[in-house]
Symmetry: C2
Subunit: 125 residues, 2 copies
């Protein structure tokens, strides 16, 4: 696995597609959708309820983007009126592991961050 793990920095600068991909995947709603679907598959309106702050338009856009990049799959169930289920994909699961690592990091560092904020806000105010 260490075949391509050279100065990671170069990936950022030289190889735009890598950055572009993260830009599409690390936004506010994607992280939350990903996290929800990692627990279990959900329907459109279930997702809306699970993430109350997201608007319908934004949720649709987020789902399309995640689907296009292969992170989730959109499954149309035969049912009356219509039923669509969104599922995490294998790749999506690997991404979610990294996102979880990020979440664990925030959990650890939040106190230090809040202290830093207090210092910054205090010295400037």
């Amino acid at each position: 696995m260490d075949n391509t793990a050279p100065t990671i920095t170069k990936l950022l600068q030289v190889d735009a597609p890598h950055r572009g991909l993260l830009d599409e995947l690390l936004d506010k709603w994607s992280l939350q959708v990903l996290d929800q679907l990692c627990e279990r598959s959900l329907r459109f309106n279930e997702l809306r309820r699970a993430i109350p702050a997201v608007g319908q338009k934004s949720l649709t856009a987020t789902l399309r983007r995640l689907e296009r990049n292969g992170m989730i799959t959109r499954v149309v169930l035969e049912a009356r009126p219509v039923a669509v289920e969104y599922r995490i994909s294998p790749i999506g699961e690997t991404l979610n592991e990294l996102v979880d690592a990020l979440l664990r990091w925030t959990d650890q560092q939040l106190p230090a961050v809040q202290e830093a904020r207090a210092r910054y806000d205090g010295s400037g105010a």
Copy 2:
């Protein structure tokens, strides 16, 4: 201090500050600035040159935000006209490790992602 690491998912939903922090830290420019400063400290205009696509205004905002959250430190050097150096902080370095993991992930998954995109774009077009 309870080190309970319960279903990470709950952190996302219940605890807004965690998500909020990631929202401030995972944007387009922050990742690149962080990555640059992890290699070596840089001055304002060095950063601009290192990340040509970023505007002055956005760079300033990004630096302030990273500084406020304790990820970098702003060091005013005594020099003529003025010299300011931006340095990664210890916390910032730990964040950058996770970002690097993300970058390595994109490097691994990019082919699969591009395939997914081709499939998506092809079936829809």
